[in-house]
């Protein structure tokens, strides 16, 4: 239970770190998303509207969706966040992308090539955090350390369309 709570709170922290918050952050939903199951984990959209609404910092994005990935026992193994950058965000800039990545986690991010996609990886408090960009959409996969298939889960998550 402690681990679940920690992961949930960290996932929300990531959301706030990345996107700031306002009502606008929760006003729209991503048109596409992950399948109902990924590697046997149940995928469910989480309601983060209240959390996002509680933060009044400037926004880089206008859509944020948070998915939880849980075992049958409800144990939370990972979260996937999908956010679309606003028009005025310099989302095509590699420096901008890296500056966002660098804000996450407590370790220096590395970049890993998975297929054609470059994925930034960092870690924080029992989590491995993978971040990648597809056009104006940013994906953040936070996986609990100890989960046995983090790379395979990353491969699955890379297939998700924004």
């Amino acid at each position: 239970m402690g681990q679940r709570a920690r992961l949930s709170s960290l996932a929300l922290l990531i959301a706030l770190t990345l996107f700031g918050a306002s009502a606008a952050g929760s006003s729209a939903q991503a048109p596409h998303g992950p399948p109902a199951q990924m590697l046997g984990l149940n995928v469910a959209k989480e309601n983060i509207a209240k959390v996002l609404a509680g933060d009044k910092r400037p926004l880089y994005v206008d859509k944020v969706t948070l998915y939880s990935l849980r075992e049958q026992s409800k144990l939370l193994q990972a979260t996937l966040e999908v956010g679309d950058f606003k028009n005025d965000a310099p989302w095509t800039s590699a420096d901008f992308q890296y500056s966002i990545v660098a804000r996450l986690g407590s370790s220096l991010p590395i970049a890993v090539r998975a297929g054609p996609q470059i994925v930034y990886v960092t870690s924080s408090k029992g989590l491995t955090i993978a971040i990648w960009f597809k056009d104006r959409t940013m994906f953040t996969l936070a996986v609990r350390n100890g989960y046995k298939q983090p790379k395979e889960l990353l491969r699955e998550a890379l297939k998700v369309n924004p």
């Binding site: 970049a111 890993v112 998975a114 990886v121 960092t122 298939q149 983090p150 990353l154």
Partner: protein, 354 residues
């Protein structure tokens, strides 16, 4: 006065342009390494040392999937497949098992005889390794490569784990550049070029060669605080390393390295022969080869006493092929499921530099 000022400005400008050239070569090689790492690739890594030839052929589909096959003196020695979270291993040459036990830092650890140190720092014996692995069969640990973060960004001293040496070859070059005195574009027309001392082939048409110039021989230090003599800085591997990087179309196609004491002794520009007496007392009339052997033994003894990496003489060649053309990597069929934890928890070995 005005002329003196102009002369000084000219000198400054010349010095600046020299520095710029050196930095440009280093930057160019760094960018070429970065570009090459971004590509699917095949490679053949050859290490000749101590009378043995170790060859590793590799195929990198991406940073999460690769296959390596090693042979020693022409005999199959070990193979490794990393396929996302899974790590499959086959070891035919028992002497390599020790080197394949990796510490949490990603480095190979010493495992001699019956006992060594596991990834967790606990003693581990060869008997603890899975039986199929000891008998030369393929084994696979479905969670043997789950680490997505890098356990260490320092490449281990080559020689213990040829599989790791081979797959991290480009990172090795990056670190060697950091240890070199400078990086220079190969120029056979240069007044300082001495073909007799150049162990590497000239670049083919369309290929640019860059050479890592070894650092200067360390100067003796006069004394530390309070007049207490400091320990003498010793020439280590970077001083004895000659390394050339061959670049085609902005990508690395080959790397050659020679680490050899006699070669540096023969090079008057290295100053080593003139200052040999600072490091070793060679008998009168000793040949270059005898002096080199004596110096190597003496330096390695002292380096090890100081906890530094000993000098390992070798000739290395790393050739890339099929850049950008992914060869799909697959786990070997019929591998026995096992737990390879005793061989260390594998962190992310390959990654990109941005």
């Amino acid at each position: 006065m005005r002329r003196a000022l102009l002369a000084m400005l000219l000198l400054t400008t010349l010095a600046a342009s020299g520095c710029t050239k050196v930095n440009q070569a280093r930057d160019t090689v760094t960018r070429s390494i970065n570009r090459t790492e971004l590509l699917a690739r095949g490679f053949v890594y050859t290490d000749k040392s101590g009378g043995h030839t170790t060859r590793v052929s590799g195929s990198v589909e991406d940073d999460l999937r690769y296959r390596l096959d090693a042979s020693v003196d022409g005999n199959p020695a070990a193979s490794e497949v990393v396929y996302d979270d899974a790590r499959a291993l086959q070891v035919q040459d028992e002497s390599l098992l020790a080197g394949l036990v990796r510490s949490p830092s990603g480095n190979a650890v010493t495992l001699t005889g019956e006992a060594g140190v596991s990834a967790a720092g606990a003693p581990v014996s060869l008997a603890q390794l899975p039986a199929p692995l000891q008998s030369g069969q393929w084994v696979v640990d479905k969670a043997g490569a789950t680490g997505l973060t890098v356990t260490s960004n320092t490449v281990a001293a080559p020689g213990k784990d040829p599989l790791l040496d081979a797959v991290t070859g480009l990172e090795y070059v990056r670190q060697a550049m950091g240890e070199a005195g400078s990086v220079e574009k190969f120029n056979p027309e240069s007044e300082t070029y001495r073909p007799k001392l150049d162990p590497f082939p000239r670049p083919q048409q369309g290929v640019i060669r860059y050479d890592l110039v070894p650092p200067a021989l360390p100067q003796p230090q006069s004394g530390g605080a309070g007049g207490v003599p400091l320990s003498r800085p010793l020439p280590a591997t970077p001083f004895f390393r000659l390394l050339a990087v061959y670049v085609r179309d902005g990508k690395v196609v080959e790397v050659r390295e020679r680490i050899n004491v006699a070669a540096r002794l023969s090079d008057q520009a290295s100053n080593l022969e003139a200052r040999l007496g600072e490091f070793v007392k060679a008998p009168a009339g000793a040949s270059i080869s005898q002096q080199a052997n004596l110096l190597l033994r003496t330096l390695n003894r002292q380096l090890q006493l100081r906890g530094q990496i000993p000098i390992r003489e070798r000739d290395m060649d790393l050739k890339f092929s099929g850049l950008g053309r992914a060869q799909p990597v697959q786990l070997p069929a019929g591998a026995t499921d096992t737990d390879l934890a005793a061989l260390g928890v594998q962190g992310q070995v390959l990654y990109e530099h941005r």
